[in-house]
């Protein structure tokens, strides 16, 4: 899968040339996140601890409103934990930064920058020379197979293309971890499948840690090494499932017995949650 292009650039531009295996450890340590206070108090995340090893692909799966985005945002640095702390490579997270790449559900490319400029923006902020930024951007455009549209504006692209550019933009900073919040949620089923496969290719090429939020069970199983299932009110992780499916993954696996068994397990956890929530509302 190594194309050579990316690994060459890794050598040239990667700030730490040390082993990729050393980078991208995430520790979520007894994190609680509370919004509001008094009668409007809302415990979005309660005393949650998660450890993610470098290079792991972890999906957070859970119903709407259970606190998935909030938890992810605490790793990104947009939300400060009310208690506990988040560490990436043993550094406590206090604010957003380029060491953590972020891909959003809504299209978040800068509409006034061309595709090329969007990808070159991170390296530019990091202080690379214009020609270095250009060549980084070109490399990543080649990687996602969109060199031909370098000069297009995001508004000219399909949703799937925009998200590919979004991923490339996040990776162009060579971040320690890639944080993705339902990045394919707005795409149609067909595009979604293609995007999942291409994400896995990129991931295997980079060996980067990915924390991926979704509420789609199939998506989580197809992508992840590990699935964390969250429950709502208060948000917390109720199950940590290992996905033992072999890699590279292919869409045909969706009918394999292991896949189906995993899916049943996920669904039963989620159903138990929904039932609980339903009964709580009923009483």
């Amino acid at each position: 899968m190594k194309t050579g292009v990316v690994s060459m650039h890794e050598k040239i531009f990667r700030k730490e040339t040390s082993d990729a295996k050393e980078r991208g450890k995430i520790e979520i340590d007894e994190v609680s996140i509370v919004f509001g206070s008094g009668p409007t108090e809302n415990i979005a995340v309660q005393e949650t601890s998660i450890n993610i090893s470098p290079g792991e692909f972890v999906c957070i799966l859970g119903p709407s409103g259970c606190g998935k985005s909030t938890l992810l945002n605490s790793v990104a640095g947009y939300v400060k934990p009310s208690s506990g702390r988040v560490l990436v490579d043993n550094e406590v997270i206090t604010e957003p930064g380029p060491d953590r790449g972020m891909v959003f559900q809504q299209y978040s490319l800068f509409p006034w920058k061309t595709v090329h400029q969007n990808i070159a923006f991170g390296p530019k902020l990091a202080g690379y020379t214009p020609s270095q930024c250009d060549s980084i951007a070109s490399t990543f455009l080649a990687m996602i197979g969109l060199s031909k549209i370098a000069k297009s504006f995001p508004g000219e692209l399909s949703g799937g293309m925009q998200q590919r550019v979004g991923i490339a933009r996040a990776l162009a900073n060579y971040p320690r971890v890639l944080l993705m919040d339902e990045p394919f949620g707005a795409l149609d089923a067909q595009t979604r499948l293609m995007m999942q496969e291409s994400l896995l290719n990129i991931w295997s090429e980079f060996g980067i840690t990915v924390l991926f939020v979704t509420h789609d069970v199939d998506e989580a199983i197809f992508l992840a090494d590990r699935i964390l299932i969250m429950s709502s009110s208060p948000g917390s992780v109720i199950a940590d499932l290992n996905v033992a499916l072999e890699r590279p993954r292919s869409p045909e696996m969706a009918t394999s017995t292991e896949f189906v068994a995993l899916k049943k397990e996920c669904l039963s956890h989620i159903r138990a949650q929904s039932l609980k929530a339903f009964e709580e509302v009923g009483h």
């Binding site: 380029p98 509409p111 006034w112 902020l125 250009d134 980084i136 060199s147």
Partner: protein
């Protein structure tokens, strides 16, 4: 080195795609003149392709159509004006003292060699340039501050709310009392007219900045100023551009009010002076000059903003 080569390849690719996209557009184009020409070429033996066909197919071209309808409509208006003055139309509205299009045209031509006339125009334009430039710088700065900072908003918004509803024209008496010279009071009024639309549109634009884009920039390593230059300002630009156009219109309006009431030069003074001197054709000459300059300056503002808003037409 390899990077540069890669980049070249990427750029070349992009150009080919652009070319083919343009080609595609052209071939799929609705340009009727083109297709008419193509037809005439394929039917080499027929002599059916005539000038009349060409004119008809040209008329189908949207741009030409817009322009020709505009010209016809304007000519019709001038004709009505001409007839009304020719027959001294007087029914509720009185055309007896209204100069005819031809006398206005003649008056205009006679002014072309008159240095005084140009002086009026240049002085008005200088006032606009001066007052408007200050309004743009101050308006955009205040707008951005108010839009981005809660403290600035709390401090400035009360002033805006109180002063905004007062038309610039209502400031004239006080402006004359406040400012040392007539010139400065006219410039002040012109400035005020442009200021508020620019402030309000800038605030609006800044507030419209999608939060997700700010988050994206911050996670790519942008600091406060970089977020401002790369996200907030471009996001606000369409709205700011609208404010600049509106502000230009209102600054002309305010300038003329100021020039009519005080001053010895300027196109507003010229127009009002023509009325006092019972020189009726010059009233209309002055009006048309004002209209022309107003349109021209608003158009120029649009033209200057266009490159920065090129991305906008792809937005859905």
């Amino acid at each position: 080195m390899n990077g540069a080569v890669l980049e070249k390849i990427a750029n070349n690719d992009a150009e080919t795609v652009n070319d083919s996209a343009v080609g595609g557009l052209k071939s799929a184009g609705k340009n009727s003149p083109d297709s008419a020409v193509i037809q005439s070429v394929t039917n080499t033996d027929s002599e059916n392709f005539s000038f009349k066909d060409f004119v008809l197919s040209s008329l189908k071209n949207e741009k030409l159509q817009t322009i020709s309808v505009g010209i016809v409509s304007l000519s019709f208006g001038i004709l009505i004006w001409h007839l009304a003055t020719l027959y001294n139309f007087n029914y509720f509205i009185n055309f007896e003292n209204v100069p005819s299009p031809t006398t206005v045209g003649a008056a205009f031509l006679s002014h072309l060699g008159d240095a005084e006339f140009y002086k009026h125009i240049l002085i008005s334009m200088r006032r606009i340039l001066f007052a408007y430039s200050i309004a743009v710088v101050l308006g955009v700065t205040i707008g951005v501050l108010v839009g981005r900072s809660r403290i600035a908003r709390a401090a400035v918004l009360p002033y805006i709310e109180v002063i905004r509803p007062i038309p610039a024209v209502a400031w004239i008496p006080l402006a004359i009392l406040m400012w040392p010279t007539e010139e400065s009071s006219i410039v002040y009024i012109t400035f005020l007219g442009a200021l508020f639309p620019i402030i309000l549109n800038t605030i609006h634009g800044v507030k419209e900045t999608p939060e997700v884009l700010v988050r994206a920039a911050v996670s790519l390593g942008a600091k406060k100023m970089e977020v401002f230059w790369h996200v907030v300002l471009p996001a606000a630009l369409p709205s700011i551009a609208a404010g600049l156009s509106i502000g230009m219109g209102i600054s002309w309006f305010s300038l003329l009010a100021g020039e009519i009431i005080s001053g010895q030069y300027g196109i507003g003074y010229f127009t009002w002076d023509a009325y006092s001197m019972i020189n009726y054709p010059d009233i209309v000459v002055g009006m048309l000059i004002i209209g022309g300059l107003g349109t021209l300056s608003t158009y120029l503002i649009g033209l200057m903003m266009r490159p920065a808003l090129r991305w906008k037409k792809f937005q859905r």
